[in-house]
Symmetry: C2
Subunit: 401 residues, 2 copies
């Protein structure tokens, strides 16, 4: 088998952790597999480098920040290669440019355009364990780029895709994907399998195990993922196209506290009204999530939508530039809200799922402010103070044993 | 003018120092020059990285150590580019592989084979201040190499050579080359000029301002060097082919405490005797410096030579393998010695220089154990306890005002 393994920054934070990772890699190699390992920078390295840059130039260019930060993965990759070699196994560290991870020139958030396989396959054919610096690539000018948040996950999935790896293991400090955040929700259960789409919804909804970009890429290129823990040796959660083992209607409960609700009451119902509002928000790079529109009094309309709470200021500023809102009766922004969602590929054919969720919330005496649904997801907006109780109540309804 | 400036690790050790270097670079650029800057890793970065590697694998391969350590220059190069940009000047950081610093595959101590000028000249033609990570190159396998001790100096001189720069400034924490170590010798004077050959002799003899490899390369490619301080803005010492300004017979006094004297008394005078001794030492990679041979009693010979004191053990072990020494009367190794040298291109045509040096030592009641001369150098071996007084006495003789 050809396995790609990815280890995040906390997994390689110090010499002891690096040796622990080396032992995991060595086991996979000794079992007869070809192994490519993708690593992030050690622990707080990236944050430390950003702080160094900020001290020298608070407005440093993204090009130079990428040059600075990629040194972090370079260091962790070479250290891990050393650790594996000290166990008597052949290993070589390589950087993004050395294996031809070609990206566009969007410094700080580049997209992978292609990956050369020549060097990688040559090293694997020499039975080397390849340690690849994650998060980094090179653009057409031969300048170094980074892939943005979750970049090392993206590197791992992309490498697995071009090498047609049998499995891409994402090692983190959690041991898999749960039906809800196990630190908060009693009875949260680890899933042995989940589909790409369910994983995408969970990630979007606040489950921080995998970044969406890497899941989307895995889905597109049919890369079998496994989320597992670098601290405990036990099976993790498999992420794949079709899940056969479990027949759960609902795969998980997620919450997102970074939400603000914008309410516009009594806006004139003129043609292109929605377009006028949301194009201004798009230009201000405000991400709008749920949108509800209803007919208000006197033929005017009410519009309610959600944005990220940390974009509240940009939202308010942008709305002031929307001329048709000048005569609106009221514009309110409220970030004392939480979005609670349930996700499951099975629910689209089972209409009773939504009512079961609403019933659980009603029994817990929790008021629902907004509802939005998709094929595999139901989201509700509730007051922030109710969110812990709400997650537990909904989880108990679907996952109580 | 096209100027190459090199700044060592202490010159960029922290944000304040980086800003200080940026100001020096900015002055050169604003004066209308094209500027390429070569930087070392910040302060103790390289030592810290070596310690990290040692913790994980005390026998780490040189290839992986090079991968690890070059991250240091990458970080300092990007930080300096950020500092220069914050002053409103255009700047770009580049790595060894990005400007095609091609080396052999001798990891840890690679030699530069060629440098592409395309990227460098393109950036200069855009009026960018180029910040190049020193010490690093790339071999034919596209693996990263380092240039060994003094590697950033070598990078700077090599870049100056291929770009045919008008001047290569080496900024350090001293402000130039002195007639003797100013921390030890009273009255030591800064030289405004010195020839390559004199600089080479001084470096060999213990003056640690410039590494010999970079001076040799500067001589070969006719690169005008200037050694100057990054802390004080004043003229440094120019190193070039011919010195016109000063007519000093002696350019400097140097001492080397890393010396051991080996005395072999009464070795049989057979053909190839010297060859047999010194070929064994060469095979053991022992560097032999001064060699004296004289006729001893009974037709046997006495041989005295010096080696580096830190190679004493290898020397003794190697001599045990020389069969013709089995019947020698005595073999002694003594590292309680110092080599004291005077250097000056003018002395070859002035035989009085040597006697003036010996007179100074005689007046100070210092015994001379060995003497060796070349066209531009006279070295004597003395007891270590006499060395401070000896350096001062000789310096006073030649440089007293």
């Amino acid at each position: 088998m050809l396995i790609v393994q990815k280890f995040g920054g906390s997994s390689v934070a110090n010499a002891e952790r690096v040796r622990n990772v080396a032992a995991i890699v060595a086991d996979a190699y000794r079992a007869g597999n070809d192994v490519v390992v993708v690593v992030s920078a050690q622990g707080d390295t990236t944050d430390d480098l950003i702080a160094k840059a900020a001290e020298i130039n608070p407005n440093a260019s993204k090009r130079e920040l990428d040059m600075l930060m990629t040194a972090g993965e370079q260091m962790s990759a070479s250290l891990l290669a050393m650790a594996i070699k000290s166990m008597g196994l052949p290993s070589i560290s390589l950087l993004g440019w050395q294996v031809g991870v070609k990206t566009d020139s969007n410094y700080g958030n580049a997209r992978i355009k292609s990956i050369d396989t020549e060097r990688l396959t040559a090293e694997l054919s020499r039975r080397n364990i390849v340690i690849l610096a994650g998060f980094q690539g090179v653009n057409k000018y031969e300048d170094i780029t980074t892939l943005g948040r979750g970049g090392s996950d993206t590197t791992a999935v992309a490498i697995a895709a071009v090498l047609k790896a049998d499995l891409c293991q994402i090692y983190t400090d959690v041991d898999g994907v749960y039906t809800a955040d196990p630190r908060i929700v009693k009875g949260a259960q680890k899933l042995s399998e989940i589909t790409y789409d369910e994983m995408l919804e969970l990630a979007t909804l606040g489950a921080q195990v995998l970044h969406n970009r890497s899941v989307e890429m895995a889905k597109k290129y049919h890369v079998d993922l496994e989320v597992c823990s670098s601290l405990e040796r036990k099976p993790g959660t498999k992420v794949r196209e079709v899940v056969t083992m479990e027949k759960l209607l609902v795969r998980g409960v997620a919450r997102d506290d970074n939400v603000a609700r914008v309410t516009i009451i009594g806006v004139a119902d003129v043609p292109g009204m929605a377009y006028k509002i949301f194009s201004v928000l798009a230009a201000a790079k405000v991400n709008v999530d749920i949108i509800l529109q209803s007919i208000g009094r006197d033929g005017s309309k009410d519009i309610v939508f959600t944005v990220k709470a940390d974009q509240k200021e940009e939202t308010v500023a942008a709305l002031k530039r929307v001329s048709i809102l000048e005569n609106a009766i009221d514009v309110q922004v409220d970030d004392d809200v939480t979005k609670l969602s349930i996700v499951g590929a099975g629910m689209e054919t089972h209409p009773g799922v939504a009512s079961k969720m609403f019933e659980a919330l009603f029994d817990a005496n929790i008021n629902i402010q907004m509802i939005a649904t998709s094929e595999i997801k139901i989201s509700v907006l509730i007051r922030k103070q109710d969110s812990d109780r709400a997650v537990q109540a909904v989880h108990d309804t679907f996952f109580a044993k």
